[in-house]
């Protein structure tokens, strides 16, 4: 479990960045790439962090807006020895403690505390089965997508046990609502008694990382289980036979290290995989992470458009991915980008492809 520290506790990291200024984190930061001020990059934020520690800067609405536009995608940290994500989270906590937070985040936090979920639950997937599955708020709000994923699992002899659950609270923690996150954790633990299982499957990469890091649970993303099953029965899927690229979701790839299983599945589906230049550990966020899509839709779309451009540059017209945030974010951007570039790039979820191939 991650210990939560105050900003001052990271002073040594912050000063180390300030005295180094190598900028390895900066150029590929998807937010900096759109917003253009250094302040939006991790290196810039580390100077702002120093201002907060030394009290030459105080929490403000403007600082909150800047910090809320961090995707928490972890690309900066992949290129650095410092604890960048924890520092940015602790800066967000400083904002909340200083009385500054974005209304939409406050509303989301309140909703999670009162209703136990971030989004309207349109699906009631509770069922008996053999292996615990944590569904998460996003999939509970998407009955069709959830039904597809469950159907794929069933057809591969993975029989999920789904019980009552509450939100893992990722967004509460990531946006700096420290005390509220403690409450959410309590709520989660009360509801989620069943998860004393030796292994818990998950569908959402963000829930996966949160359950692992904040609750210490033995989670495995369901796509890994699918890859394991398909290894045992290589002829189980038909070949779909098209050309596509694969977008690594930040939490599933960079944070959890699940890179090869989705590619292995694509290979089995007969899909000719063309890698984008930034892939695996250095994949670029879709623009939907860290709560950015809630506070700044335009920014989120611009970032997603840049990711779609990465695919276009490789000459492919289909992006596959396996994340309930990446998929709609990229698809929306692809539709907006199409008139600008004259090419529509389709975005197809891996669960949908498996659904087709297993029929």
């Amino acid at each position: 479990m991650t210990e939560r520290k105050r900003l001052e506790d990271y002073a040594e990291d912050i000063y180390t960045c300030n005295r180094t200024r190598c900028g390895f984190c900066r150029e590929q930061c998807p937010v900096y790439h759109v917003m253009a001020y250094e302040t939006y990059s991790c290196r810039g934020k580390m100077l702002v962090g120093r201002g907060l520690i030394e009290k030459t800067l105080s929490p403000s609405e403007e600082m909150t807006q800047i910090l809320d536009r961090c995707l928490h995608c972890g690309l900066c940290q992949a290129r650095c020895a410092l604890h960048n994500l924890d520092i940015i989270t602790s800066m967000r906590r400083e904002m909340v403690q200083g009385g500054f937070s974005t209304p939409v985040h406050r509303e989301n936090v309140q909703r999670i505390l009162t209703e136990g979920r971030l989004l309207d639950a349109r699906a009631a997937p509770e069922r008996q089965g053999q292996i615990s599955l944590y569904v998460g708020c996003v999939y509970r709000s998407k009955p069709r997508e959830l039904a597809t994923a469950l159907s794929v699992l069933e057809r591969l002899d993975i029989h999920p046990l789904i019980g009552d659950e509450t939100c893992c609270g990722y967004i509460v923690d990531a946006t700096g609502f420290d005390k509220e996150f403690e409450e959410v954790q309590e709520q989660f633990k009360r509801t989620y008694q069943q998860f004393q299982a030796p292994e818990i499957l998950t569908l959402c990469p963000t829930c996966t990382i949160t359950l692992r890091e904040k609750y210490g649970l033995p989670v495995k993303h369901a796509i890994v289980a699918v890859a394991e099953q398909l290894r045992k029965r290589p002829g189980a899927v038909k070949r779909l036979g098209f050309r596509a690229t694969y977008h690594d979701p930040c939490h599933l790839g960079r944070m959890l290290g699940v890179f090869e299983e989705p590619r292995e599945i694509l290979h089995q589906l007969g899909i000719e995989l063309v890698e984008m230049e930034n892939n695996r550990y250095f994949s670029i966020c879709c623009g939907g992470g860290g709560g950015v899509n809630a506070v700044d839709q335009d920014l989120s779309i611009e970032i997603a458009k840049n990711r779609v451009r990465d695919a276009i540059r490789m000459g492919v017209e289909i992006i596959t991915t396996v994340c309930p945030t990446c998929e709609p974010t990229l698809l929306r951007a692809a539709a907006r980008l199409a008139p600008e570039v004259g090419t529509f790039v389709d975005v197809q979820g891996l669960w949908d492809l498996l659904d087709k191939a297993l029929q």
Partner: protein
Amino acid sequence: MDAEQVHKAFGELREILGHRASTSPVHRMAYSRDWSPRYRQMNDLPDIVVIPRDTQEMVRITKVAYRHGIPLVPFAGGTGMGGGAVAWNGGIMVETKGLNHILEIDDQNMTATVQSGITIEVLNSELARHRLWLPHQPESKRACTIGACIGCDNDSTFGIRYGKIRDCLLNAVIVTGRAEAIRVGQRKASFSSTGYKVLDLLIASEGTLGTITEATLRVVPLPEAREVRGYVCRRLNDTAKGLERLLGSGLAIESAHANCRNRLHFYTHSYREKYGREPQLPEWADAILFLSFAGDRDIVAFNVDKASRIMVDEFKAEPVSEQELVEGWWDSKHRLEFIPFKQKWPDSQRQKKFGAADLGLPIGRLEEGYHRYLEIAKKWDQEILGMTIYNESPNKATASISFAVFVDDSSQDTVRKFYQYVREMSEMAIELDGTMSTYIGDGDRLGGFNQLEHGPGLKYMRRIKRIFDPKNIMNPGKKFRSRWIEYDQGEHR
């Protein structure tokens, strides 16, 4: 800064740039430092930050600064080690990385025309699609821009084959302190005998003449293969003599870095930490010469073989058998590809910061320079990191030297000691017929004091500055005044 003038200027800049002009304390803070040694709490806050997108916007920004007499400080990669990109006198910080477009890649003429704020890494990833590359490659290439390479005349890993930025630069657009945009240079030709070489004035100008907004660069084909090798030598001078001999034999060497005993220990320490075993290096090893070779595979293989024979037979050197140690050097100088989330950098900077005196010495004075460095560093309580000799001029052994130390930046006094070290090292360089700086530049450290190097020439430099920048708004102070080194100002007017 005159608050009223700043307020008026900001209003006008907002008209031009909209949200790309800001007086926010948060944004200003993010532009308060570069990589130069300064004490912990030291901030140089600009009054305004602006992000131009093209030359015309830069002209309009400069007109505003000119009208109100406000300094303009170009900011690029922010990785400079001399304080060149800090707004020492406040003013308008120009975030040049908004000028980040490739304007043309001309395969036929092997040129690339770009806006100045594009980073070397991004440019090279685009050029790679054409099987081309820009061989001017500073170690900071992931952050450093073309404009910064021109303005700072920084180092290049491949200098011994391709030279530095001036060897690649064909023309450039500068918006002078008079708010005029001029293209200087020789279009797409590689040289010209007409007029004065105004393009050369831009090299290492550190934003004191104007803001560079565009550049055309000669690019070269990507090599098919590359090999790196290391040779331990018995004496530091053998590295330079050996290199001169290798080049004299007709071999093509792509990069050559020589390191003193201390710096060699730095690499062996990294090797030991990473692989958990002791590298097999002879006890007599006093220096190490790292080389890279590139080109067609068979030519590279021949080059490696011949170079090894010369170094072993004629200089009694020994090839480094642990190739991982050599690859470690190459990772840190060129590839910059570290294991994700396991990168050690910048952990080494936690206690003390890396700093350097970047002298140029004649190649026959290396041993002498090294011993003086040890003495001077000790005198000013600087912890020695080591000496690296970069070769930055095509096909000859040269000595652009990083005399590196770890700087204690916990207080103003300890940082001042570092700059005393820089001062005395600089004096030593002049005494040994060398130069005070070869890749960092004057910044806010050597200005004025550099009369020791330039003599009456400095007066002419001031006059040149006035032609480009009559109101002294372009990065004022830099190159002509030092905030760290004391000198007799009476002599330097």
